[in-house]
């Protein structure tokens, strides 16, 4: 039982909710200015970087994992092919921006429908292929993506093995006083020094601006999926996940809902890819192997299957854990030679196994248990229509 009980719909709850939102915004805002240069934490002579570029990369993963939540978490279709759509989105955006000078966000007009349609198409086999088999096929799909990019016919668009470089940047508009805000933050006593020193360079301004825009884009995606989940189609896909037969008997079209959720998931994968390439400035086929798809599944499971906040945690985990693992060069008692291998994969693999045993609901389920000790949110009472007879 929580120490504090809040009932939805009451003013106390509204305050609680808005406090949460403001806190989140504050974190995003502070992170932008604190980590615009490479922020780092040092532990035992190891430097762990938390630069803004990495956070933006994490955002791109969050959106891709959000897509996986829709198809795997909520609809129960085990897809190991999300990397395919992530890569597709990345390359499409890169091509449109680099070769046709489109603004980054305009590319979504192409990426979203294209990935959506491709997702629908890949959802069609999923109507017949189930469970493990679907996982196999989608893994195969993810595996062929890098070789597709190398195809001669696509070479003019993808630039083959060299990677598609995009040098278009997201620059803040003139009226945006990023510099002023930064200077203001630096003047705050005691904590000011954590916000760097002096004016922001162009590179820094651009990093902050990209981060803000992508965070907003991701927030929109999360809000849309959240709307979906608590609505008629969202309940329908979850019903399909939990029991197909009774879903069908209650008039829920299985084919329609499965393919649509594949479409939505793939479109989100494409959006993630666009964020990724906009931050990185290059799309290269080696980034979009089946390993990426497996990482997305890792993020999904580690964060928490079937939860939106799980996607946030999952994105952070797969963006930072491998990086930090390879930044760990000194650990007492561990030979140095061991630490300069692929320790990230090792930690993710072992972490995945350990979580499956101890916290099958992912990190988020642990967080929720802790939170439930403090705050308990009660549902808003629903008024009964006057005609209904209440039986005791």
């Amino acid at each position: 039982m929580g120490k504090f009980q809040l009932t939805k719909g009451t003013s106390a709850y509204t305050i609680y909710k808005w406090a949460g939102i403001v806190l989140l915004l504050l974190i995003v805002f502070i992170a932008a200015f604190a980590f615009n240069d490479t922020g780092k934490i040092s532990v035992l002579d190891n430097d762990y970087k938390i630069g803004l570029t990495r956070i933006t990369k994490a955002i791109s993963f969050m959106v891709a994992i959000l897509g996986l939540q829709v198809v795997a978490g909520f609809t129960g279709q085990l897809s190991l092919g999300q990397g395919f759509f992530f890569g597709t989105g990345a390359y499409m955006s890169a091509y449109l921006v680099a070769d046709h000078q489109w603004p980054w966000f305009l590319t979504l007009v192409v990426v979203v429908p294209a990935c959506f349609v491709m997702g629908l198409l890949f959802g069609i086999p999923a109507l017949k292929i189930k469970g493990l088999y679907l996982a196999l096929v989608t893994l195969g799909l993810a595996a062929i993506f890098p070789s597709l990019i190398l195809l001669d016919v696509l070479e003019p668009y993808t630039n083959g093995a060299a990677g598609k470089i995009v040098d278009s940047d997201l620059l803040p508009p003139e009226w945006m006083p990023l510099d002023g805000i930064s200077t203001g933050l630096q003047r705050i006593p005691l904590v000011g020094r954590y916000f760097g020193d002096g004016d922001l360079s162009n590179k820094q301004e651009q990093r902050i601006w990209t981060f803000f825009l992508m965070a907003i884009l991701a927030a929109i995606c999360f809000k849309m999926v959240s709307n979906l989940v608590s609505s008629r189609p969202g309940r329908a896909i979850r019903a399909v996940r939990d029991n197909e037969t009774s879903a069908a008997v209650n008039g829920i079209g299985l084919s329609y809902h499965k393919t649509m959720s594949f479409g939505v998931a793939s479109a989100l994968g494409g959006v993630g890819g666009m964020i990724y390439v906009a931050e990185l400035g290059i799309a290269s086929q080696g980034d979009f192997t089946q390993l990426l798809s497996i990482l997305f599944i890792v993020g999904l499971v580690v964060g928490g299957v079937g939860t939106l906040s799980g996607a946030v945690i999952g994105g952070l985990v797969i963006a930072f854990v491998p990086e930090w693992a390879s930044s760990t060069q000194n650990l007492p008692g561990v030979p140095e030679r061991w630490l300069d291998g692929p320790t990230g994969g090792f930690i993710l693999g072992i972490g995945l196994i350990v979580l499956t045993f101890v916290l099958p609901g992912g990190i988020i389920s642990g967080v929720r248990k802790l939170k439930a000790r403090v705050v308990q949110v009660l549902p808003a009472p629903i008024p009964l229509p006057e005609a209904a007879s209440v039986e005791t």
Binding site: L78, P125, K128, I129, G131, L132, Y133, A135, L136, V137, L139, G140, L141, A143, I144, S147, L148, L150, L151, D152, T245, Q290, L291, I294, I297, V298, V301, W338, G341, P342, T343, G344, G345, F346, L348, G349, I350, G351, L352, I353, T356, F357, P360
Partner: protein
């Protein structure tokens, strides 16, 4: 024509590896209807054990292979006991997650221990060409890989049909509940399947990298798994004979599709994925598998 024949020979020798790995997958699928996503990594790891035994411990090559197969079997048995058995076999999701975790972890461990530089593998078979047939070269390597899969298939058949544990394994594969009611302990029986699968997979990788044109490195089976899965699905996931034919067929499709259907080399994997997709869509039980009956 000569080139065509040559491609068939090459396809067969590739296919032999897929066949061995597919047999490994089938051993586990038969009993549990689970696909071990880490099967390729198990095999790669076994390959490194063989390499270490042969090059660093100076054990004769075939001795190293047999010892390596034994060690991987024991490792797999331990993994089955500790990581797989605690979960309900009917609930696939946690098990898939565990095998994906194993995939990442084993791959990383191999990378940490042995690094990613490709290593030459000692010769397993006599080198050079055996015959020239109509202008195509049939190498000893190809001949011996094919002999190997026949020997393995024969060995597995004997093991399953002539031993008590083999009988128990077939019983559990056929009807788990009735097997328990006959006094068979399901856990150790499935463990036997995992051990055999790992041993066969190790042999598969050893044979694969024993080719003079290949080397051993941690990524060697990352796409190999997909070829093997396609092979196993084509043969019918619960048929060992089907796995062999499926493996050879995938090898042939790969080596013939590339030059003759104008599929670029990079896309040979696509051929395997397309086969997998078509099989699952139109004949989910594969060519030789048992059809699954679904009841409401």
């Amino acid at each position: 024509m000569d080139l065509f024949l040559q491609r068939i020979f090459d396809g067969l020798s590739n296919g032999a590896t897929y066949a061995l790995l597919a047999m490994a997958l089938v051993m586990i699928f038969k009993a549990t209807t689970l696909i071990n996503f880490a099967q390729g990594e198990f095999a790669m790891f076994g390959g490194f054990i063989v390499l270490v035994l042969a090059t660093e411990q100076g054990i004769p090559m075939w001795g190293a292979v047999v010892l390596g197969m034994l060690i991987s079997a024991v490792l797999a048995a331990v993994i089955e006991r500790t990581l797989i058995r605690p979960f309900d076999p009917a609930d696939h999701l946690p098990l898939v997650i565990i095998t994906l975790g194993l995939f990442l972890a084993i791959n990383a461990i191999a990378g940490i221990v042995w690094r990613f530089d490709p290593r030459a593998f000692p010769e397993l078979f006599p080198s050079g060409k055996a015959f020239n047939i109509a202008g195509a070269t049939l190498s000893w390597y190809t001949i011996f890989t094919l002999i190997t899969i026949l020997v393995v298939a024969g060995g597995l058949t004997l093991l399953l049909n002539k031993t008590k544990i083999g009988l128990a394994f077939r019983a559990v594969s056929s009807n788990l509940e009735s097997s328990e009611l006959a006094g068979i302990k399901v856990g150790p029986t499935l463990q036997f399947g995992w051990a055999i699968a790992a041993a066969v997979g190790t042999l598969g990788v050893a044979v694969f990298v024993a080719s003079p044109f290949r080397q051993l490195e941690p990524q060697v089976m990352v796409t190999g798994l997909i070829f093997a899965v396609s092979a196993a699905a084509l043969g019918g996931l619960d048929s060992l004979g089907g796995a062999i034919l499926g493996g050879l067929a995938i090898g042939l499709v790969q080596s013939i599709a590339v030059p003759y259907l104008g599929v670029p080399t990079e896309l040979s994997l696509l051929a395997a994925v397309v086969v997998l997709l078509l099989v699952l869509l139109f004949k989910p039980s594969g060519l030789f598998g048992t059809p699954q009956v679904e009841r409401v």
